[in-house]
Symmetry: C2
Subunit: 451 residues, 2 copies
């Protein structure tokens, strides 16, 4: 044991427990508020299951809904949802960043998140620094996007300015936090071919989805400090870009001539909507075409992207791009017969390989078990049910439209799956890493964030 243990930990596993309690508390408070009669448009309580589902979906920035956000909830209810999204998004970025920093410090590894001199412990000043930076970045990006959306809503769609500001802020916050909640029953279909709406949203989704550690590094570079990129940033940026490109190309190509989706659109429209549906599974969850009408092959591509998700310590869900990339590197090394796994000039320790494996396979297990239960208790076909389970686990929020028709037991299962998908990979990876003790020092080693 080291003499200087990180000051914010009271014991092993404790930071992870703190995260779970914080999110659980936010969900309960949200449920309470949304169950109030004043939260609904018609003035009668939404009921516990609907309130719990919506609160979980908002705090976990998922975006699955069992009632239409705009018509079911009152303005008070909508503001509760928006506040839960903002709290959930800030919470996950802050807590995941701090957990990542704690792991890096404990293991004596490098992770640029603060400007403090690097010590083994994590001081209160640093925690405050991370929290403030996360809030500053979030509000700045959300503000820019909200301004653009507001201007477009007012100028092109003749909304009164008050309404335009409200909808601009709501969708800007929802997009940056990868929350996927929209104030329209058809999500973004009405704006499908308007690049002034969907492009800013794609930008917000991607910035939020890369994760705070990567944003922090990009910010340092933009301010002219040209240190070496960390392994985490390089893997995240490369894998995120590659998966997005794959999603955009695959979905645009598959749906190109589908008369119920991209078929009727002109080429610019096809490209814009295809891009939106390549970006949104990572894991924002807005849709600008009818997901239920997509071809089964597109749904499978979307499943794949939703399960992997985005970058660590950001607003995206899923097992995270680093987890996926690390497993690919392990397999490549194994096939090439290399005893150690080297990535971009760095060596991956055996324990992080096992952690990536654990996060990924437990994710597969959670999705498979949930799909099995949902098949048992609903009459929906496999493609719709699997899509729903991965969407909940990956905190995506896309749906083939079955969410509201799933019986209460199944909706509660989705609640558990959203919570597990939001916090499981992060806290599991951190708990696993914080518990590691004995380590060998061989080659220069770097540790991307897993989960």
């Amino acid at each position: 044991m080291r003499a200087t243990r990180p000051r914010v930990t009271a014991g092993i596993g404790s930071p992870s427990r703190l995260v779970v309690l914080g999110f659980g508390g936010a969900v309960l408070l949200g449920t309470l508020l949304l169950a109030l009669p004043v939260a609904t448009e018609n003035g009668t309580s939404a009921g516990v299951v609907t309130a719990l589902f919506t609160a979980t979906s908002a705090v976990c920035v998922t975006g699955l809904v069992v009632v239409d956000t705009a018509t079911h909830w009152s303005t008070f209810g909508e503001i509760v949802v928006l506040t839960l999204i903002q709290a959930g998004g800030l919470g996950i970025m802050t807590l995941a960043s701090l957990l990542g920093l704690l792991v890096a410090r404990r293991l004596g590894l490098r992770l640029q998140l603060t400007t403090q001199t690097e010590t083994k412990s994590l001081g209160l000043g640093e925690v405050r620094g991370v929290v403030l930076r996360v809030i500053a970045v979030s509000l700045a990006v959300e503000a820019v996007i909200a301004v653009v959306l507001t201007a477009r809503f007012a100028a092109r769609y003749d909304m009164p300015w008050g309404r335009a500001v409200y909808e601009g802020v709501f969708h800007g916050v929802s997009a940056f936090n990868n929350a996927g909640f929209a104030l329209y029953a058809d999500s973004m279909i009405r704006y499908a071919t308007d690049p002034w709406i969907t492009v800013p949203m794609m930008v917000a989704i991607t910035v939020g989805g890369l994760g705070f550690p990567v944003l922090f590094e990009i910010g340092r570079r933009l301010r002219g400090r040209l240190g070496r990129w960390t392994l985490h940033a390089r893997i995240t940026l490369f894998t995120y870009a590659a998966l997005t490109a794959f999603g955009v190309v695959a979905i645009t190509a598959i749906e190109w001539a589908n008369p119920a989706t991209l078929g009727p659109l002109g080429v610019p429209g096809k490209l814009l909507v295809g891009a939106f549906h390549g970006v949104n599974p990572r894991t924002a969850g807005f849709n600008s075409l009818d997901v239920a009408q997509m071809s089964p092959a597109s749904l499978l591509v979307t499943d794949f992207l939703m399960f992997i998700g985005g970058g660590s310590a950001g607003t995206a869900g899923g097992i995270k791009v680093t987890t996926f990339a690390l497993l690919a590197f392990v397999i490549a090394a194994e096939i090439r017969g290399e005893p150690s796994v080297h990535v971009l000039g760095r060596r991956l320790s055996a324990d992080i390989q096992r952690q990536a494996l654990t996060v990924a396979l437990l994710g597969v297990g959670a999705v498979a078990a949930s799909t099995f239960v949902l098949l048992l208790i609903t009459g929906f076909p496999l493609d719709a049910v699997l899509f729903e389970a991965i969407s909940a686990f990956g905190t995506v929020g896309l749906s083939t439209g079955i969410t509201a028709s799933i019986p209460a037991g199944g909706q509660l299962l989705l609640v558990v799956l959203m919570f597990l998908g939001r916090l499981g990979p992060i806290t599991l990876a951190a708990a696993l890493a914080l518990r590691e003790r004995a380590r060998r020092y061989e080659l220069p080693e770097e540790r991307p964030i897993v989960g």
Copy 2:
């Protein structure tokens, strides 16, 4: 490098290449014979795709068919199919056993397959010993099953003795080799509630599916030599039993009241057919109910069992029960925070953990990619297509009935998938293991066969 290298290897990867060439040759020869006009009932050639598909399905002991075996092929054609099954089954058991032995010898580990004094090399006498034992065990089990089936066919179904012997031998060989080919268009549905037919078949499937190394150890014990069980045998027997029990219970329970499957049957019939469908995904592929009528949840359970398959170096396919169990042990160790993975008092080396990961995830990748392509080129729903892809990869042969309707391109993809599923896990694991060089010696270590 060691001075005494195994004599049967000409170079690294070479034994695996030999296996692939041998199976490829058998498939080509079978295709040639089945494309002859004399092979069909109506005397015109079946065509290259159908001949290739059937030959691959037989050699890889899969059992997927694009034409009905009994009515499409002449007796000559049926005997070609039966011969290919027997050659494929013997081939896979022999070659996988020898590869396993080669790996164990090279690494200085223990694997009881011969009675020779254990040396680092693999002599011609030992190879002959393994081959003869595999043949002896196969023919003995097949003979016993064939006798029981023949007696029942003659006594209960009034078949002439010649016909009863022919059908008894055919289904005995097909069952022991986990081939799943039947001489009836409805597979075993007509015998669904006859325990004198289905129970012997389940016994044959299980004996063949455990794998030769486990059978060899059981045989030693039956002859009174009570040495310690190897880790491989203990993991295989436990996991095989646990998965079979899960399959039987889950499928019987889910289908219990389904009017299109178990519903109309009495309790003994339900239990018998349920047991048959818990055993057959491991990976024999006979069916005694209409698979297309099974509930989606049962299909998912079957997918799970088919992907994992049976024991190594046997007639079952899939990624193998040891691969699955090893990954479960790795995850359990990771969650408990243990730096080493211990299984039943032995330690698993890091390289075998990585091999299990590689075999399993490449399997997932092959199935996912094939499912994607089949969704693109057919109009079938995800559950049917995923089932078909896993059935081909796991060399199972169960189908929801779409095989014959898949376009030629898709059938050729299934041919590749059957070949890959039959040889991929085995040769990949052996090639990976044979290439390992540097190893640390810490605790007593044992190495189950992966793939």
